[in-house]
């Protein structure tokens, strides 16, 4: 399909973590079925701005390109989402691309989201198995339980929920919805719940679950439709009970 349609991208660029950001505009040929990542690949192949100035390919994170690795999160037309599943034909032009605003910029659209992985460490988001040697079957699980846990386990650590959350900022140090939802997942697992108390205690205090302001932005932007607000409510209840128990124990 030969057409003269083009795509206009406005990209917020930043050469280093300390550099001042700037905007650059690109105009590339339109092809049916394009997504934002394929547009960025086209820019890389011919890095010339709309006004003819030679520039550098745009740095961005990407890997699977099918919305399951969680790499290519960015702000597209003002919304936190994955670039691979952002189809050009469904976006208003010019398409603006910005890095996440609440994470340190590495370069251009690439940011450091390792805070989430650190948080997962703090809440011990794992099942404490005895070892990898042969210990026979795992615990039985009902279909109903599996169907409840599986959606929680589909979190791709993209951090869209954290970017969109008004409470996730340096002032509150809020841990964010993704981590809380993982606490719900592991606390519900027959073996995982052995660490339930430690997980809940990690969510108490500054930056803990009580920082949530119920804005519900998280659930709105989650590309995997994870019931994040339900997770927060559920874990909020668990944490409260734990706090009461801790109070009487001391």
């Amino acid at each position: 399909m030969a057409n003269n349609k083009t795509v206009i991208l406005r990209i917020k660029r930043q050469d280093t973590p300390e550099a001042k950001p700037r905007w650059e505009e690109f105009e590339i040929a339109h092809r049916p079925g394009m997504n934002v990542t394929s547009a960025l690949m086209d820019v890389a192949a011919n890095p010339v701005t709309r006004d003819g100035k030679a520039t550098t390919p745009v740095t961005y994170d990407s890997n699977c390109l099918e919305e399951v690795c969680g790499s290519c999160a960015m702000i597209i037309n003002g919304k936190a989402r994955m670039a691979c599943s952002a189809l050009i034909d469904q976006l208003e032009q010019p398409i603006s691309l910005e890095p996440f605003s609440k994470f340190p910029v590495i370069r251009d659209l690439s940011v450091d989201r390792s805070v989430l992985f650190e948080n997962l460490k703090k809440v011990k988001a794992w099942v404490p198995i005895d070892g990898t040697y042969d210990l026979g079957d795992g615990p039985r699980q009902s279909v109903v339980d599996q169907e409840q846990l599986y959606p929680l386990s589909r979190c791709i650590s993209c951090c869209c929920c954290m970017e969109a959350c008004p409470q996730f900022n340096e002032k509150t140090g809020f841990v964010g919805a993704a981590t809380i939802s993982q606490v719900r997942l592991f606390n519900a697992h027959p073996t995982g719940k052995a660490l339930k108390i430690e997980r809940l205690q990690a969510l108490m205090g500054d930056g803990g679950i009580q920082e949530c302001g119920y804005a519900q932005n998280c659930v709105e932007v989650c590309p995997k439709d994870i019931p994040l607000t339900k997770s927060i409510a559920d874990v909020g209840g668990q944490t409260m009970w734990q706090a009461v128990k801790d109070f009487f124990r001391t």
Partner: protein, 627 residues
């Protein structure tokens, strides 16, 4: 409490502290504490499996990955993982799994490791279950299993249609636990450049590039485990992730490692063609009853759902009555090619056929296949519950890889390999849902063997000379310097597109010697053009095009191994199909291709080694009249 990490600068400082000494200090500590240090490169299923075993055995792992390990390509695996748990009353057995795998691989795989994998598979599934993988369940609460290609048994455990993601997460969580205990140090955002290998062909560590600062560092270790996955990028668009370039394997091949069976490339029959990649539509769609068809009438423009059954051609079911839509991938792919190119019956004259799920209950589809249906919906815009999907074959997997023995050892002392980057399990064609198992199995073999080897190194008290590290680092820095300061006219991204088109056209489904020879000549020319690559970004900070250009060189070198290996093998076996040599030729070609790099001539050389068929006697592979 959790905080936004104050500054990424802190990370480099920490990294530098650990890496500047190359490194007597660590080694001395290592001897006293007898905690061998082992480097694992790659954080997909195989790398994480190896890491867990090593940490469990008391070793310390330095885990290197281009992306945060949780974002590795294993997340893309969809349909499931095979193990003969025999929970469906079908009389399935590990031997049957073994036989299916060997038969599916057209008898090219050495049999003992395949048997070992199939025997260990049920135990590995139990372990994954204990780790919390949310496998689908039966009403009684047991693991559910479904069918996959190349078998008549329900042998595939699954977690919806995102099984790879779920398995990777389970292993990632266990590794995070070890990381919190100080037994694993992650180096994410690092690219493997080369092994630190001495004149006696012994590996003492690796040389890697910090993908942010672009600095080159060497890292010592008693042993190194490679788990760097596939090489889809050599074919341009594939189902693989961006990081699957085969660059690390190629670098090691250029340093003296054997690369085996490179010519065996799996083209998956059902992919969604896309602008940036080919997205996989899992075999599980057919395992759950999906049917492949085309309209019998060429150019039929009717809505597919309005075309009556009698006017549809279910060609796989017709040609392969016993296996139907679940023939192995190479067989299904060639059938689709035949229908599209010989019978000219592609949908609307385009190279596409229907994969139809619309006859299956929506609720069942949502429970068992949601993840992949969602991909189709998001990227194509149609709901596959209502409309048959349009699919076409695409490059998916490399059966070939670094040569390893039954202990996952390469021919370089101290260097191990596991997962897709090694060649060992799948022969001439991989069966669906065997890759996840082979990754974990390979990691579980490589890890402990690396620890054993490392203990021996510590006991021997031998240390590599400092200059081995220095000279490797200098060699890499010189390559970087040259690339940065080139002032030619070649654009690496355009060169890569050419490479992908060339390889897809001549070195995938149907192969002719003339085309393969032309392909190799073209690759030589492209390697020459590569010397004139001019980067549009010459900065020394998070420069992705620089890193890509480095990978491209290794892709070109490895492409020659694939093209030449294919040209040499005058037979048809599994995924390797030559119309001029349509039969399998056991008399001449029941052997493993081993490519090695002749540095002086700058080209691959080949030798061959017999296949161990001591357990199952080779027999003709016929899915149309299956025995």
């Amino acid at each position: 409490m959790p905080q936004v990490r104050p500054s990424i600068g802190l990370t480099w400082a920490q990294v530098n502290v650990q890496t500047t000494d190359v490194n007597l200090g660590h080694r001395v500590i290592g001897i006293f504490m007898a905690h061998p240090k082992i480097i694992v490169v790659g954080g997909g299923l195989a790398g994480l499996a190896a890491t867990i075993k090593i940490a469990e055995m008391g070793g310390h792992v330095d885990l290197f990955s281009i992306v945060p390990v949780k974002r590795s390509h294993s997340v893309c695996a969809q349909g499931g993982i095979n193990a003969a748990k025999n929970l469906k009353g079908e009389g399935d057995s590990c031997w049957q799994h073994f036989d299916d795998t060997i038969y599916g691989g057209d008898f090219l795989a050495n049999q003992p490791p395949v048997q070992a994998m199939c025997d260990q598979a049920p135990g590995i599934i139990d372990l994954l279950d204990r780790m919390g993988v949310p496998f689908n369940r039966t009403p009684e609460g047991l693991l559910d299993f479904r069918r996959f290609g190349g078998t008549l048994y329900n042998r595939t455990a699954f977690a919806g249609a995102t099984t790879g993601q779920q398995l990777l997460y389970a292993l990632d969580e266990q590794v995070r636990r070890y990381e919190a205990e100080g037994k694993v140090t992650k180096y994410e955002s690092w690219e493997f450049l080369s092994g630190v290998i001495d004149d006696h062909r012994t590996c003492h560590g690796i040389c890697a590039l910090d993908l942010r600062s672009m600095e080159v560092h060497t890292f010592p270790a008693e042993a190194v485990v490679m788990a760097t996955g596939g090489n889809g990028a050599i074919f341009g668009k594939s189902t693989n992730s961006v990081v699957c370039t085969g660059s690390a394997q190629s670098a090691l091949y250029q340093q003296g490692a054997f690369y085996a069976n490179g010519e065996f490339i799996q083209v998956h029959p059902t992919c969604i063609p896309g602008e940036d990649k080919l997205r996989l539509m899992s075999e599980s769609a057919r395992g759950e009853g999906g049917r492949v068809w085309v309209p019998r009438q060429a150019g039929d423009k009717r809505n597919p759902r309005s075309i009556p059954d009698s006017e549809r051609w279910y060609f796989l079911e017709e040609w392969y009555p016993k296996y139907g839509n679940l023939v192995p991938r190479d067989v299904a792919t060639r059938a689709i090619f035949k229908v599209v190119y010989e019978h000219q019956l592609g949908i609307d004259g385009q190279p596409m056929v229907y994969l139809d799920l619309t006859h299956i209950d929506r609720k069942i589809l949502d429970k068992k296949l949601e993840g992949i249906l969602e991909i189709y919906e998001k990227f194509v815009g149609d709901d596959p519950r209502d409309t048959p999907m349009k699919i076409f074959p695409g490059m998916h997997y490399t059966m070939g890889g670094l040569w390893v023995d039954y202990d996952q050892r390469t021919n370089i002392e101290g260097l191990y390999a596991c997962g897709e980057c090694d060649y060992s399990i799948h022969g001439a064609n991989r069966l669906g849902a065997n890759s996840l198992m082979s990754c974990i199995y390979g990691g579980f073999v490589a890890g402990p063997n690396a620890v054993k080897y490392a203990h021996n190194v510590i006991k021997s008290g031998k240390h590599p000379a400092h200059h081995v590290f220095d000279s490797e680092r200098k060699r890499q820095e010189e390559i970087n310097h040259r690339l940065m300061h080139n002032d030619g006219t070649e654009n690496p991204f355009l060169l890569w597109r050419e490479l992908g088109e060339l390889m897809t056209k001549n070195a995938t489904v149907i192969r002719y010697n003339k085309n393969l020879q032309e392909t190799d000549a073209k690759l030589v020319e492209m390697l020459e053009r590569y010397r004139h690559v001019n980067l549009s970004d010459k900065s020394m900070w998070a420069n992705t095009s620089f890193v890509f250009a480095r990978q491209l060189f290794n892709m070109l070198q490895l492409a020659r191994v694939i093209a030449q290996g294919a040209a040499m093998r005058d037979e048809s076996r599994g995924a390797h199909y030559k119309p001029d040599f349509p039969e399998r030729d056991d008399a001449n070609w029941l052997k493993t291709t081993k490519a090695y790099f002749a540095a002086d001539a700058d080209e691959p050389r080949f030798e061959f080694e017999p296949v161990d068929t001591s357990l199952i006697k080779p027999r003709p592979r016929r899915y149309d009249a299956a025995t």
